[in-house]
């Protein structure tokens, strides 16, 4: 394989591995704060037990996020030197602000959050939790700002072939940023909700009926029931925004080869790039016109308008269907779970098993969603400004291949260890919640 392909696979592998962990920690930070505040307000020890259990998951996920994130900051230089040379004047400050306003905040106060129990008063510990949650969200904000700028760049001019910033307001608030940020934050909320629900259901099914387990499960199910339908709406709005600014991406997502009206909504097909058509197509007449233009005969741009300049169709098309499919499942599980909690006060065994199976559903949907938007931007790295091929470095294919193998081995090993550790923590959850060194000072101290 050539160096460009290998460099892309390597970066994709790294960024895919990385996003798994922030996707958990962004929302889990706020859930931990919720547990802590409930404890402060009610004095009920179950909330503190839930905190003690989930802060360990947070620490583990955070460590994996940190080490894979550091790897990424280096790969900008090792794999894509052309990126910073061309758009460094915009990307640089955004990345610098992420490190300065988010990274240090999270990393420093995480120590107090994890080990500060007996050393600081309760309110300092609560504040540390707020700052860590705020830090993870700020981190997401800056990264989503940069990614959105790469998708729909604005506020710059080209001088001697190099991007120069002209309007920072426009750079931060690009047309796609509010949609992408909201979509991602809710995705994190859902990932976290299904993780907590899955692990708590696992504990419940094993006979661990501690009040903390029920409290965490209830919190997670309510989160899922609220966020999943909202995400469907936000995702739709994000899609309409993409149609306006990156129509080629939407054409690939929908598998539309030809521009026209009365466009059907394709449920399944196998896009064939060679014949520029779909095989085995199953579709709903007028569906896409209705969704994308809100009228039955609305004209939707097809891939024929972007020949030679559109992304590879099949991966974007399938990734989109996986994301939507998992999203629909999430809505079903969330609403069903909430209904049972409301009517019966508990979940039936079958549904609990279902939640265990859905433990990592958020990961699948988040990864699929990022594949849609990142592959969907190709051949551009920064839309209309820089192609991916132009940014690749001079490192020979052999070197990239050998480090790629190293990273892949490491990531598979760590992922297996992570999932195994999660379920082992769950299996001895009641012990974890009551470790002697982990008792907090009273909130008033």
């Amino acid at each position: 394989m050539e160096a460009l392909t290998l460099a892309r696979i390597q970066f994709a592998a790294n960024i895919s591995f990385h996003i798994l962990f922030p996707t958990i920690t962004i929302a889990l930070g706020w859930v931990l704060l919720f547990f802590k505040l409930r404890f402060n307000a009610t004095g009920d020890g179950k909330w503190m037990d839930a905190y003690r259990f989930w802060v360990k998951v947070f620490a583990l996920s955070f460590a994996l996020g940190v080490v894979s994130g550091i790897t990424m900051s280096f790969q900008f230089g090792t794999n894509w030197p052309g990126f910073m040379e061309k758009v460094g004047n915009v990307a640089g400050p955004l990345l610098a602000y992420e490190v300065m306003t988010a990274f240090f905040l999270e990393a420093t106060f995480l120590g107090i959050m994890l080990f500060g129990w007996r050393r600081v008063p309760g309110w300092v510990h609560t504040t540390a939790t707020v700052l860590v949650a705020f830090g993870t969200t700020m981190s997401a904000f800056w990264i989503l700002v940069l990614n959105s700028w790469m998708q729909t760049p604005a506020g710059f001019e080209l001088r001697d072939g190099v991007v120069h910033a002209t309007d920072w307001w426009a750079i931060v608030f690009t047309p796609s940023m509010p949609y992408r940020l909201t979509h991602m934050l809710i995705a994190s909320g859902l990932t976290c909700a299904f993780l907590i629900a899955g692990i708590s259901a696992f504990r419940w099914l094993r006979g661990d009926r501690a009040p903390a387990v029920a409290a965490a499960l209830r919190t997670a199910v309510v989160m899922a029931a609220v966020l999943a339908p909202v995400q469907a709406f936000v995702g739709d709005q994000h899609g309409l925004n993409t149609l306006e600014h990156q129509p080629a991406k939407v054409a690939a997502m929908e598998g539309h080869w030809h521009t026209g009206g009365n466009v059907p909504l394709i449920l399944f097909a196998i896009p064939d790039e060679a014949t520029r058509s779909n095989r085995f197509e199953v579709s709903i007449p007028h569906g896409a016109s209705l969704i994308l233009t809100h009228s039955l005969d609305g004209v939707v741009p097809g891939l024929d308008q972007f020949e030679g300049k559109h992304p590879p169709v099949a991966p974007v098309f399938f990734a989109f269907r996986i994301m939507v499919g998992v999203g629909v499942l999430m809505i079903g599980f969330g609403l069903l779970g909430a209904w049972f909690l409301w009517r019966r006060g508990a979940l039936p065994t079958l549904l609990l098993r279902g939640f265990v199976a859905m433990t990592f559903a958020g990961w699948v949907a988040t990864l699929a969603g990022w594949y849609v938007t990142e592959i969907g931007r190709q051949p551009w790295l920064v839309t209309g400004v820089l192609t991916t091929a132009e940014a690749v470095g001079p490192v020979p294919a052999g070197a990239v291949a050998s480090t790629l193998v190293m990273y892949l081995v490491l990531y598979v090993l760590l992922l297996v260890a992570y999932i195994a550790t999660l379920f082992r923590l769950a299996a001895k959850g009641h012990v974890v919640e009551h470790l002697p060194g982990n008792q907090p000072l009273p909130a008033s101290a």
């Binding site: 360990k56 620490a59 583990l60 955070f62 460590a63 940190v66 080490v67 894979s68 994130g69 550091i70 790897t71 900051s73 280096f74 900008f76 230089g77 090792t78 030197p81 910073m84 040379e85 460094g88 004047n89 915009v90 640089g92 400050p93 990345l95 610098a96 490190v99 300065m100 990274f103 240090f104 905040l105 999270e106 990393a107 420093t108 106060f109 995480l110 120590g111 107090i112 994890l114 080990f115 500060g116 050393r119 600081v120 120069h164 910033a165 920072w168 470095g393 490192v395 070197a399 480090t403 190293m406 990273y407 490491l410 760590l414 260890a417 550790t421 082992r424 923590l425 974890v432 060194g437």
Partner: protein, 337 residues
């Protein structure tokens, strides 16, 4: 944003910020990695747990200085960033693998199901620390000689790898003198005494090799009046080494007096060595190839970062001090799992 500093001054400010970040990283993660390097000398699980507990609350934030240093290189000197990182592609990848293994081992070793698994993550912790320390030393050696090829240059890089690993073990041992007690502390004193001499040899080695390799560096140090003006640098280094060697012979002192001093002397030695290298290479950012003035980004972009940094860096320093105060004193038996 309209720049309020001339472009060359901005480049200087950012070079200084980057130098501070790299120095902070080398000192802070230096002692973390050093503790990892020393772990094989400690067979008892309880002592190993204490060693890990002594750095547990700090390592995340310590490693962030690396991200800031590389980030500033990336942001302020993008051309140099591409040049340096592609030249060091393989050692960077290995260092990252080392940092990944070391970082996750903190969590996994504490949450391990069986003692056998815990030992395995101990190996990952030790191996990861060693890999990161050695590759960082290797990269320093390659960088110092301007990425020169040939057997001599590679031998120098290999010696530099060992030297940096020894320096990290040294500052790690000084950290443990401060943060542990009893038998473990006594052993830390012994490690510090042994590694101090390797560090001294390393400093002398680099100080001799760099002027010999470059006539420009030779002139910077040995022409008048530089020779006199710079004399305090080597003299202070010598005084710190001799003084610390004398102190370590008597440690631990009654009442654990001066327990912090070896660590801060080690920090002083790191700073002096760093200052020496900085003087040798200024104004080059890629030795003998690219100056920091040639490599700097557009002034508008640097200005907006500088404004942010002026507000944020003092805050970072303040809460770093807070965290150090919260976790001052001897390492306790932190329950990590």
């Amino acid at each position: 944003m309209t720049p309020f500093l001339p472009a060359d001054d901005l480049a200087l400010v950012f070079a200084a910020l980057m130098a501070i970040s790299v120095l902070a990283y080398v000192v802070l993660d230096g002692f973390d990695l050093g503790v990892g390097l020393l772990m094989p000398a400690v067979p008892e699980e309880r002592d190993r747990d204490r060693m890990v507990a002594s750095i547990g609350p700090f390592w995340d934030a310590n490693e962030t200085w690396l991200v800031l240093g590389v980030g500033l290189l990336l942001v302020a000197f993008p051309t140099a960033h591409g040049m340096v990182l592609t030249a060091l592609y393989l050692p960077v990848a290995l260092m990252l693998a080392g940092l990944i293994l070391r970082g996750v081992a903190f969590e996994f070793r504490a949450k391990a199901a069986t003692p056998v698994h815990k030992r395995r993550w101990d190996h990952a912790f030790i191996g990861g620390s060693a890999l990161a320390a050695l590759t960082q030393g290797w990269m320093l050696g390659r960088y110092v000689l301007g990425f020169a090829e040939g057997f001599g240059a590679l031998l120098f890089a290999a010696l530099s790898a060992l030297g940096v690993a020894a320096a990290y073990a040294f500052i790690g041992a000084c950290w443990l003198i401060w943060r542990t007690e009893g038998d473990l502390q006594k052993r830390a004193v012994a490690w510090a005494r042994r590694t101090l001499w390797v560090v001294a040899a390393g400093i002398v080695g680099v100080s001799v090799a760099t002027p010999l390799a470059s006539a420009r560096i030779m002139a910077r140090w040995f022409e008048m009046p530089n020779l006199l003006l710079l004399a305090p640098l080597p003299l202070a280094t010598f005084a710190l080494i001799a003084g610390l060697a004398a102190l370590l012979r008597h440690m631990p002192l009654p009442g654990d007096a001066l327990r912090r001093l070896p660590f801060w002397v080690a920090v002083g030695l790191f700073c002096l060595s760093f200052a020496g290298l900085a003087w040798s290479f200024f104004p080059y950012i890629v030795p003998e190839r690219l100056t920091l003035f040639q490599a700097a980004s557009a002034p508008e972009s640097l200005t907006i970062i500088l404004v942010g940094a002026a507000f944020v860096l003092p805050v970072i320093l303040a809460y770093t001090v807070l965290a150090w105060r919260v976790f001052g004193g001897k390492a306790m038996d932190l329950r990590y799992d």
